[in-house]
């Protein structure tokens, strides 16, 4: 028969509850009565009684008193005094100082790992302050529009301007409304030409709803009268220097002149509304009444509605009111409309940011932060892991100390606390290193990732506090595993044994994590190689047209005929042509539906409007047919298409297409030429059907074929001609080859980011390896000495010591190569349609680089130990 035993769980709970208190006798009492009960009652009842006794004891005064006594006893082990903590700090500092090499390796590794996270922390801290300077920030809302059309739902930050009026009149809970139209744009005439100025049209309440500080002028009156403008301090400074701007009048190039009625402090960088100027809303031409409707995605273009509530009515009521207006709007239009309110504090960073279109201000996408956060963890966690790994591997060095501490009465908690203190000390040292990297990389980070003005990364006290908290947290993460390991060390074994575990034996998790780091490093190396190849490939790609020595001048408002006549006079200009877009960049000039002959279907064809010189200038090749006739343009009658178009309409022979008619926009155009395919759009897109059309009204650029002797003087000469044409706007010209090159600059950004992260990841994994190698060479000195005495060669021993790592790298390559083929190759082809593919040479180069770096890192140690005289090492104990 089974022997009945008291319930274990009840005892455990009781012991846990009592903690350090002396309760041995009570447990004994309970057990005694249990065995007494079991003789007369069933086991279940006895157990039940045991439980009840446990509960009654827990609530009794006896336990309370014993617990209280134990807390204040001299032998209480949960009692941590300041003295003990100071002792831990001193011991930690001494240990760190004694093992300088390891401390440096650990601290550098952790510093590298932490540096990226510092950027994330500052960014998050900054974004959290968005729009928090407005006094009424918690009662400001914006109306957003959700519309359903053709089955798809969209959300936009814009709303019909007429809603503002409806809200003010129809709802008492609203204190003020302001319409904002972001469309203000103009050129201010100044003595030496003109200065472009941008801003918002806004209602007078704008200044009372939002708390932008006003320096000159009257807050409530400034935007009241038509054609008044409020400018920011920096705009005032730019235009007037130190003169008082208030009351001055802006003469605009094609608008009515504006009177300056106020000067505002520049909007802070954490404002989602950012502007150079505000113009009174009633300067806008009258809107079409107060009917709210929706005619398509561009209906409310540039219109935003903000309002301030006075909390006298619940928000729910406001929502009901908006629902009523939504229904009204839906009745008036084709789509289903729903107006919603969004709190100011929800705008940036917003919940629906990735969904809202046309939001104001920088778009801080939450998803992007998750991505960035993942990268930070990918860099930080290996560094923490390396620290833990090295610490545990070196446990034998500390074992005596720990054994002694435990013998003298140190509890697990004490040892744990001591090692956590040590780790936190290391991470705080690392924080200093990470800060250096942070300051060095800050500008570059701002430049490459975001617009500088939109992000403030300066170090404030809050952020310094966050950094410190982050360092301590990192210390806890990195130190948890080794501290637990040390705390569990058996003092008897620790004091007695001298043997150590061989590296990596049976530690599948450590092996796995080391392999993971190698994979990460390999991935970064290969991506760097491949992306630099892709960049060079795109730079030297034959687009099918001639792009050297073509200068593109933005026409702005200049008359094409005059431009052609004036510039042709210059000796450096060989030919002048006109176009509506620039080739080789992302095609944005538009498209039309073209119907070939009598085919029933129309085809969407990308188009560009050019003059007869353009095709010659760019050196495009005709498959058949000829160029547009070089005659003054009266109406559109010809079109030149590319091969791809013929393929789409199903014509094999280019000659067949000549003289055929296509129907575009209800006109019939005759195909007079067919061009060999060329890359009219960027390399991201495949070559699609394309047509050259003629119509001088669409010209945007003058394309000058030039041969410059001296670029500076020639450009100056051209600028003079530009002035002579009577143009006020700034002369804007760019070489076509430069523009195309700039379009691929993003590869440089990618390479910079990958390079930086790659260097971090690789350094961290190499430092981890270095730490392990130093440890092995310390513990295997004797073994190596014996091997040498027995006749092992230096190479043999170096290989022996490196073998472990090479094996791990081998595993890493086995996993990483297929992954690279899937992930990196997909990245390449999704970046652009015409791209390089990952090939065996990239992989090989990556492998060679990683192995070389690895061997270089460990060779210092392995060679040193392999070449030492065994007579010396065997002597040492």
């Amino acid at each position: 028969m089974k022997v009945q035993k008291p319930p274990k769980l009840a005892r455990r709970i009781f012991e846990w509850y009592c903690g350090q208190a002396q309760v041995d006798d009570l447990l004994g009492d309970m057990e005694e009565s249990f065995f007494r009960n079991i003789k007369s009652k069933s086991g279940l009842v006895a157990k039940w009684i045991y439980w009840m006794q446990m509960v009654s004891l827990i609530f009794s005064y006896g336990i309370k008193k014993r617990k209280r006594d134990s807390r204040y006893s001299q032998f209480a082990t949960n009692y941590i005094s300041v003295g003990i903590l100071r002792n831990y700090l001193v011991v930690s500092a001494r240990t760190l100082y004694r093992h300088k090499y390891f401390t440096v390796v650990n601290a550098v590794g952790l510093a590298l790992g932490m540096s990226v996270s510092l950027f994330l922390i500052t960014m998050l801290a900054f974004i959290n302050t968005y729009d928090n300077f407005h006094v009424h920030k918690s009662s400001i809302y914006r109306i957003t529009t959700r519309y359903k059309s053709s089955g798809r739902e969209f959300m936009m930050a814009m709303a019909p301007a007429a809603l503002a009026e409806k809200l003010r009149i129809g709802f008492t809970g609203v204190d003020g409304t302001t319409r904002i139209a972001t469309s203000f744009f103009g050129d201010v005439k100044i003595a030496s030409g003109s200065v472009p100025i941008r801003g918002y049209y806004a209602d007078p309440e704008f200044l009372s709803i939002f708390s932008f500080e006003i320096v000159q002028g009257n807050r409530s009156e400034a935007l009241r009268k038509p054609n008044s403008i409020v400018i920011t301090e920096s705009t005032a400074k730019k235009l007037f220097g130190n003169e008082v701007a208030l009351g001055k009048i802006f003469e605009m190039t094609d608008q009515e002149s504006l009177t300056i009625t106020g000067v505002l402090k520049d909007p802070p960088s954490n404002s989602h509304l950012s502007f150079e100027s505000l113009v009174s809303y009633n300067s806008l031409p009258l809107q079409d009444g107060d009917v709210i409707r929706y005619d398509g995605p561009f209906t409310y273009k540039d219109d935003y509605v903000y309002f301030l509530t006075n909390d006298s009515e619940p928000l729910g009521k406001l929502e009901d009111y908006l629902d009523k207006l939504s229904r009204e709007a839906s009745r008036n239009s084709q789509a289903e409309i729903k107006f919603q309110i969004q709190a100011l504090t929800d705008i940036t960073p917003g919940k629906y940011l990735s969904m809202i279109t046309a939001g104001l201000g920088p778009q801080w996408d939450i998803d992007r932060f998750y991505f960035f956060g993942t990268i930070c963890l990918l860099i930080l966690l290996p560094a923490c892991f390396n620290y833990a790994n090295i610490s545990i591997a070196r446990a034998i060095r500390r074992a005596k100390e720990i054994g002694l501490r435990k013998t003298m009465g140190g509890q697990r908690g004490h040892i744990f606390l001591q090692f956590i203190t040590e780790t936190v000390l290391v991470t705080i040292i690392s924080l200093c290193g990470a800060l250096v990297l942070f300051f060095l990389g800050r500008q570059e980070f701002q430049r490459t990732l975001v617009a500088t003005s939109a992000l403030d990364l300066s170090l404030t006290w809050t952020i310094a506090g966050l950094f410190l908290a982050f360092a301590i947290l990192t210390g806890l993460v990195a130190g948890a595993a080794p501290s637990l390991y040390f705390a569990r060390l058996n003092p008897i074994q620790a004091l007695k044994t001298q043997s150590s575990k061989t590296l990596f034996s049976g530690m599948w998790m450590q092996k796995g994590l080391t392999i993971f780091q190698f994979i990460l490093s390999f991935g970064f190396i290969v991506s760097l190689i491949v992306f630099s190849r892709q960049y060079r490939y795109s730079m030297n790609y034959d687009f099918g047209f001639q792009r050297e020595n073509i200068l593109d001048i933005t026409l702005q408002k200049a008359e094409p005929g005059l431009v052609a006549a004036e510039y042709a006079k210059l000796s450096s200009v060989k030919d002048v042509s006109f176009s509506s877009d620039i080739m080789g960049l992302h095609h944005s000039a538009g498209d039309s539906w073209m119907q070939y002959e009598n085919q029933s279907d129309s085809i969407r064809v990308n188009e560009m409007f050019v003059d007869p010189h353009y095709i010659e200038n760019l050196g495009l090749k005709f498959l058949s047919g000829k160029n547009f006739p070089d005659l003054p343009w009266t109406h559109e009658e010809h079109v030149i298409v590319n091969e791809q178009y013929l393929k789409l309409v199903g014509i094999r022979d280019a000659r067949e297409a000549i003289g055929k008619v296509v129907r575009v926009d209800k006109h019939d155009l005759e195909i007079i030429g067919v061009l060999k395919d060329f890359h009219f759009s960027s390399l991201r897109d495949p070559i699609k059907s394309f047509a050259f059309r003629t119509n001088p009204a669409n010209y945007q650029y003058a394309n000058l074929k030039v041969s410059f002797a001296d670029v500076f003087s020639n450009i100056n000469e051209m600028e003079k001609v530009w002035k002579k044409l009577g143009q006020i706007a700034v002369f804007r010209a760019k070489f076509m080859s430069d523009e195309i090159r700039e379009a691929y600059e993003f590869y440089n950004v990618i390479m910079k980011i990958f390079g930086f992260l790659g260097i971090l990841a690789i350094s961290i994994s190499l430092l981890g390896m270095l730490g392990m190698v130093v440890y092995t060479s310390e513990t295997r000195t004797k073994e190596v000495g014996i091997r040498k005495v027995l006749g092992a060669s230096v190479t043999g021993i170096t290989l022996l010591l490196s073998k472990d790592y090479l094996k791990l790298m081998g595993w890493a390559f086995l996993i990483a190569i297929p992954l690279a083929y899937v992930i990196i190759d997909r990245m390449l082809t999704s970046a652009q349609y015409y791209s390089v593919r990952l090939n065996i040479w990239d992989i090989l180069a990556g492998m060679v680089i990683l192995i070389t770096l690895g061997l270089l890192t460990i060779s210092g140690q392995t060679v040193r130990i392999a070449t030492t005289n065994p007579a010396e090492t065997l002597k040492v104990d």
Binding site: P6, D24, D25, L26, L27, G28, D29, M30, E31, E32, S33, F35, R36, M52, Q53, V55, S56, L57, I58, F59, S60, Y61, G62, I63, K65, R66
Partner: protein
């Protein structure tokens, strides 16, 4: 300096006499005579005395159950014992372990001189009252 010495002295003094002054601000514990004994406390104290050196948790509980026909939880019992120890009426020491207790030690209790005198006090008080009310009670009978 003087201040520091004083506080050090005060601290050491408190440490030394901490059992005596533990409940310092809360009670006006002047002498044994005035110690108030609850009914259960009196019962427990008497039972401990009657067990004569073999008083520990289980034996007290069994004895109480046997004599008073009253089941008292082990929690309540230990609360009472703890209070009696605090009042200085009981003393305790740990004894040897026995097999049936899973090798755990027993904590024995015995009555202190002041415990004895407070019991005597209670008895005297009762006897006095009995004497005074003897006639009335007998008439009821």
């Amino acid at each position: 300096m003087a201040n520091e010495n004083f506080s050090q002295f005060f601290f050491l003094f408190l440490l030394k006499h901490r059992n005596k002054y533990k409940s310092f601000p809360f009670t006006t514990q002047k002498g044994i005579m005035n110690v108030y004994l609850g009914e259960l406390e009196e019962l427990v104290l008497l039972t401990v005395a009657s067990l004569d050196g073999n008083a520990y948790g289980v034996s007290i509980q069994l004895e109480l159950g046997k004599r008073c026909k009253r089941s008292i939880t082990i929690g309540a019992l230990h609360s009472t014992i703890t209070r009696l120890v605090e009042k200085g009426l009981l003393k305790s020491w740990t004894g040897g372990a026995t097999e049936e207790r899973g090798g755990r030690s027993k904590r024995f209790y015995d009555i202190t001189p002041s415990g004895k005198s407070s019991l005597v006090n209670v008895k005297n008080l009762r006897d006095e009252l009995w004497d005074l009310s003897k006639i009335k009670l007998s008439t009821v009978k």
